[in-house]
Point group: C2
Chain length 445, copies 2
């Protein structure tokens, strides 16, 4: 067990530090000051950390244009601007994500559009705005997009999402599964080839590459390499039978981050090097031009850059059995601002950020304020005995899939979000109030 | 397998029917008309059904005042008004739920306040507004509320939440567990007795009863009865040692509903009769006055009264293996408007509501539009082969914990909600737009 006053550097934002008085700062800004001004819970995003992870990815994958930030992890106008300024491309997966990006003046030609069920209206918007790529997910969509592009007298560049039959998680992967899912065309059944041929032959579509996604929280290159090898077989067939070399190979996301002190994040530079070398090697063996590899990290960029700051409320020692007492520490948020523990049994690293703690370590559970016994942030942990009501607790690595999936359960407003950089705080999203919720109510009695 | 054109009466709203042309109506309103006017997805709430379930509960439990509608299942101003007009009481579990209820002019004296982590500000509001009962959940809160009531020169009536050590689900219950949770005071360890004594002795608190909650989706009386028996032992001790008969026994919620055709909802009248008889019997055996039993249904009132209407988009036949094909039917919502399948592996009954279907039954999966392969509404079902893009699908029993837990994942706006009664549609909540989401963005660059 590490010292509770430490901030594990591989889990916390790059610019997080504990001052001599015990207060935790991010980018030089004391978290208690942010809590005081913006209230709790509040998400604090380390801008330089975010940008540095964009650059790490860009360096690893041969250029910022090859890295597509996945909006679904967490998107605001300011984040879209950071992504744009760093030269990355952007993935969107819904009409509203596209509208959000465009409202931040993100260049449409650097946007790739995902989704298993894009409406005609969404596809018309994509073509009209001139998005870089639409990732086709079904024969029906392929025909519809071709027709829409024709009606706008345009040629739309597309990718085709294929299922390589590889499912990767952590350090393991399954090489023969994952066909039975909603996304993509099957390589194994031949439907991916049929789709590639159809896209190649469609007058108003231009096939730019194939896309696949192997999983989430992946920590090494093996699963990606196997998927690339399988997908490149189809590139070879396309080369041989259709006479074209597709310029891009989109290998999706899945780059794992460390949520707890025991985890190690995926080594982006090492995995990228191994993966790119493998793609070049496979292409050479197949006698085709190696496509440019494109990747789509969301969590690996946004995840580690943010911390959720909560205030401690009720503390209660619960008699579990004659030998065990567990201290329940309640904070002023929970499953409305972070559904991941309930949904995915996700674990988190949490620390007191308002000062040093040094009491005896007690069995503890960090819980939220929702009216549901499953509203738990950290199920099994140890907390120093001197943690008390009014202290601030920071939960690290909440930058991805927390705010993005947040709800208004129990009529909780969504938290405020701020970004910090070189000692300065800038509000990013204001806290949602009861008035915001009531604004949806019909005036009719 | 039932006929796909049926609407199982024990799952669908009481006023749902299929017309001669195959279109499904609720309270006489064709669902396609609602979809046309309000867009999809849309929640349609059957007002008379909702009110009738309030009355069924009131009749079963000896009076509307003994039934507390649990806001967390689904609360809007109009629903608060229905609950008020039917004479029920209301449970809230957060400051915003209380504010929402008060904004609908729900009488504060009929409101009971729950929560494991009520802030001082929330408790001050409770006392100032004169809520009926505050359910105390920790020694810390007991002291704080007493102090707050004193500072406002009031006496606040309270319940104490106790853990009876019973955990009930479906037709089974566990008689010796559930101590290790965030809510309540333990009966077994004596802390519930200590709290009762402290509340009794507190100058500005008036102890009205004890509260317990045994679980969710319970289908018979056994678990409730065992909990009541254990809690009543403490009533007897309070009677004997403190000389008072507590007027109320709050047995919480958990009354199960049918989500699928194979399930039978809990028989409210029968379970209530058995439970009330048992409480009277236990009290007589203990030589104490039988307290009035109070219950807190949320799901059992709201759940069956609403249907989510989606429009079918992409349809794709997925090659699962050489012998199996699965039809993936995508609709224009998903885990943002109904997290329950992903969160609890919840199952639902779904039907085409825009007309008859009669094709061959195919293995099918109903999926949403989110960028996540786990975004599934119904995992294993059979759908007629003639279901096609543009059809409307209704998902029954979505009145509880769907809108209430909805998110903006993938920047989806929350759906519209309407209520229907005797052929008339009234908007309840308007659809959330991208502008609503952008309204939270800070103006600062």
């Amino acid at each position: 067990m590490t010292n509770f006053n430490d901030l594990p550097a591989h889990v916390w934002p790059r610019n997080a530090a504990r001052q001599e008085d015990g207060v935790v700062t991010i980018a030089g800004v004391p978290l208690p000051e942010i809590a005081e001004e913006y209230g709790t819970p509040v998400f604090v995003v380390d801008e330089d950390d975010f940008r540095s992870r964009c650059r790490d990815m860009a360096n690893a994958f041969g250029g910022a244009q090859n890295v597509h930030y996945a909006s679904k992890a967490f998107l605001t106008r300011r984040i879209a601007r950071w992504v744009d300024e760093e030269g990355l491309a952007l993935d969107v997966a819904s009409e509203n994500e596209l509208r959000l990006a465009l409202s931040a003046e993100f260049p449409a030609e650097r946007i790739t559009v995902h989704g298993n069920n894009k409406s005609a209206a969404f596809l018309r918007l994509c073509v009209a705005e001139g998005v870089g790529h639409v990732v086709l997910d079904s024969p029906q969509e392929l025909e519809l997009l071709d027709m829409i592009a024709r009606s706008q007298d345009k040629v739309q560049e597309v990718f085709i999402r294929v299922k390589p039959g590889v499912e990767a998680h952590t350090h393991e992967f399954i090489a023969t599964s994952h066909e039975d899912q909603k996304f993509g065309f099957s390589l194994a059944s031949g439907s991916a080839w049929e789709a590639a041929k159809a896209a190649h032959n469609a007058e108003n579509l231009d096939l730019g590459g194939l896309h696949c996604h192997v999983g989430s929280q992946v920590f090494d290159a093996e699963g990606f390499k196997l998927a690339a090898e399988r997908v490149l077989d189809l590139y070879a067939r396309i080369h041989n039978e259709l006479g074209v070399d597709l310029p891009y190979l989109d290998l999706g996301g899945g780059y794992g981050i460390a949520y707890t002190v025991d985890e190690e994040p995926l080594d982006v530079a090492a995995v990228a090097k191994e993966l790119l070398a493998a793609v070049n090697e496979f292409a050479a063996e197949l006698g085709i031009a190696a496509p440019t590899v494109v990747v789509e990290p969301g969590r690996a960029i946004a995840g580690p850059t943010a911390v959720t700051v909560y205030e401690v409320g009720t503390i209660k020692d619960v008699h579990v059995d004659d030998d065990t007492t567990r201290r329940y520490i309640s904070v002023d948020g929970g499953m409305s601002d972070n559904i991941r523990p309930a949904l995915y049994e996700a674990e988190y690293d949490t620390r007191v950020v308002s000062g040093f703690t040094d009491g005896e370590k007690l069995q503890a559970r960090l819980v939220g304020s929702h009216c549901e016994s499953g509203d738990i942030i950290v199920k099994d942990t140890q907390y120093p005995a001197d943690v008390s009501t009014g202290d601030l607790i920071g939960v690290a690595a909440t930058g991805a899939y927390c705010y993005a999936m947040s709800s208004n359960y129990n009529a909780f407003g969504k938290p405020a979000v701020v970004s910090v950089r070189t000692g300065r705080v800038t509000p990013m999203l204001r806290r949602q109030t009861i008035e915001d919720l009531l604004a949806l109510e019909s005036a009719q009695p």
